[in-house]
């Protein structure tokens, strides 16, 4: 129960077309992540689905029923906002109860669902506090609790973790993934963090300027990016792009090599360069290697600790099977 279809959905603010006509199919129970650079229209697309923004053209269907003209409350979707949007004057319990109160659900059923949500989200001890007396992570959980109790057809998340610190973010990421496994409800999740996208998604939708650049599972996008944009956006650190002689000898305009698909040697290899900055993470080391006649350094990942330092000469060898080739238009060959 949570199949969402977008058919030529389009959105303009005044004369500015933010989302050109766009088709997208979201299957029941899927965890879909919208990623893209800032301002590409992720939030707008989510708000169109939620009904907080009216479409300029096209149709939205939820579970087979046309939803384009339905008000937000009738679409059976629950949204978790980036600012959490908790009601500051209500206790946590009242916050979570609010959508049920609006729907006229009986008191005892309300209490049952609140207890359930509080248990799942570890909020039992905080039910009588106000949002102002909670930490960021706890507020986040209250916002999720408020969404869960409605038993919606799908959850919409707009960058829910961007206000949390790094450690908490990893924790909440796991909690949301776990929640998805448990509830098996469709979730649409907006982020500009490609690590969140890779780790959580069943299906990633990469957006640029309102266009869908590619849709696929995280590994599909990683292995076969359809164009230069997706190739550069998915994967961390970024893929290295090389054109010129090396590319044309492989029958491409540009070739892309991921940092983890380059072998490092201090004696021999295909490309010879000098080590610039080295980032030691313990488990991995990232080297920025400079080449004559190339502005940008090439990033290389070496596992473990490697004893190379600034100014050393290194040889890099790409894994030929894993070189991505792109044509003049930036499309994958």
């Amino acid at each position: 129960m949570g199949r969402i279809t977008l058919d030529k959905v389009q959105k303009s603010f005044g004369d500015v077309e933010v989302i050109p006509p766009l088709d997208l199919e979201i299957e029941d129970g899927e965890f879909v992540v919208f990623v893209g650079p800032s301002g590409c229209g992720k939030s707008t697309l989510l708000r169109l689905i939620a009904g907080l923004e009216d479409v300029t053209g096209g149709d939205i269907t939820i579970d087979g029923t046309p939803a384009t003209d339905l008000p937000p409350a009738k679409r059976r979707l629950a949204m978790v906002f980036q600012s959490y949007a908790l009601y500051p004057h209500m206790s946590v319990r009242k916050n979570i109860a609010f959508p049920m109160k609006m729907a006229g659900i009986p008191q005892d059923e309300q209490a049952r669902r609140i207890d359930n949500a509080a248990r799942v989200l570890n909020l039992t001890d905080y039910l009588d506090r106000r949002p102002g007396q909670l930490s960021g992570g706890q507020r986040q959980r209250v916002a999720i609790g408020r969404a869960i109790v409605r038993e919606p057809a799908a959850f919409l998340f707009d960058e829910p973790l961007s206000n949390l610190d790094a450690a908490l973010r990893v924790g909440m990421r796991l909690e949301i993934s776990e929640l998805h496994k448990r509830l098996a409800t469709t979730m649409i999740y907006v982020t500009h963090d490609q690590v969140e996208a890779m780790t959580m998604a069943d299906k990633i939708v990469v957006l640029r300027a309102g266009h869908i650049e590619q849709v696929g599972s995280p590994l599909e996008l990683y292995r076969t990016p359809r164009n230069l944009f997706v190739a550069g956006f998915i994967g961390s650190p970024r893929m290295n792009f090389i054109d010129g002689e090396d590319a044309s000898s492989r029958g491409a305009h540009t070739i892309g090599v991921r940092p983890e698909h380059l072998a490092v040697s201090d004696s021999d290899g295909v490309w010879r360069g000098t080590v610039g900055v080295a980032e030691h993470l313990g488990s991995d080391t990232f080297f920025h290697v400079h080449f004559d006649g190339r502005d940008e350094p090439i990033t290389v990942r070496a596992t473990g600790e490697v004893a190379l330092k600034h100014g050393d000469t290194v040889w890099l060898t790409p894994d030929e099977d894993r070189i991505h080739r792109f044509d003049q238009q930036g499309l994958r060959i």
Partner: protein, 290 residues
């Protein structure tokens, strides 16, 4: 102020202003208190003997006193209700995106810039006058008898005039508070299935609680001492129908030149204001806590 030393220094630093403020308030207060125990009538020069509570008994047993208390409370309460309810309504309207909002806002604020005497005179002569007033003309056009507002409903008319003056203030404060509401909260409520009315009741109104408290407290301070509007329109009459405590004190001390009774009335007014303040803080003061 972590240390004993800096705390002492802080006391010394703020002492001058505290002393100045105290003197500023205490000297007139103490003089009023002192006069209130004297027989002191400007028409009867000579000795001003100490008479104990005679002035107080006189003032409190005056039949006009009870009317004045009731009128004061009615005036304050009536204006508060009208300005808060009206202010919320007007602020809600002004908060809607519409053409010409800037101009409308300035027009709504403008009554606040008209001084009380002038606005009361304008109301008295141009609107409420039973012969030449606008309302009389409207009644005439509709074929009804003109209503003499200031004679037949003096207190209600004054409440109307004062409300008109204070509505902009309430609107302005409530409007800024309304605009500080996070729009995502309203959107969340919308997704949670709240109707426009439920959003107003459960989200907007609680958000306004603090602003409403501020409006009520500030206005109460000023409304307890309404004077000019009464002086220019009804002179407290007919009879004592529109006399409030401030006006009664004025009538005692300046119309009858009785400084002693006037001072006693002033002290009574201070006590009344404090009682009102205590009640108000009990009722709504908790809204001001963060």
């Amino acid at each position: 102020m972590a240390t004993q030393h800096s705390r002492a220094a802080a006391r010394v630093m703020i002492a001058p202003s505290v002393i100045l403020l105290l003197a500023w308030m205490l000297v007139p207060l103490l003089m009023t208190l002192y006069f209130s125990f004297l027989r002191y009538n400007l028409l009867m020069p000579g000795a001003n003997p100490f008479v104990g509570f005679e002035n107080y008994t006189y003032f409190l047993s005056d039949p006009a006193f009870q009317t004045a208390i009731v009128n004061t409370l009615l005036l304050v309460g009536g204006v508060l209700v009208i300005t808060v309810v009206g202010g919320i309504a007007v602020a809600t309207l002004l908060d809607q995106p519409m053409w010409g909002t800037g101009l409308v806002r300035i027009m709504v604020i403008s009554p606040f810039f008209v001084m009380p005497t002038v606005s009361a005179l304008v109301w008295k002569n141009m609107f409420m006058n039973p012969v030449n007033g606008l309302f009389a003309w409207i009644a005439d056009v509709l074929g009804m008898a003109a209503f003499d507002f200031l004679t037949q409903a003096p207190l209600a008319s004054i409440i109307g005039i004062v409300s008109w003056q204070w509505l902009p203030f309430a609107t302005l404060i409530l409007l800024t508070a309304m605009q500080s509401l996070d729009s995502e909260q309203l959107e969340a409520a919308e997704m949670d299935g709240a109707s426009a009315w439920a959003r107003f009741w459960h989200i907007k109104l609680p958000h306004l609680a603090r602003a409403i408290t501020v409006v009520v407290l500030i206005q109460t301070i000023f409304l307890l001492s309404i004077f000019a509007e009464i002086l220019v329109t009804t002179n407290g009459g007919p009879g004592t129908a529109s006399t409030n405590l401030t006006y009664l004190v004025y009538a005692e001390s300046l119309l009858r030149f009785d400084v002693g009774t006037g001072s006693a009335g002033g002290v009574v007014a201070i006590i009344l204001a404090n009682i009102v303040a205590i009640f108000l803080m009990r009722m709504i003061g908790k809204n001001l806590d963060a």
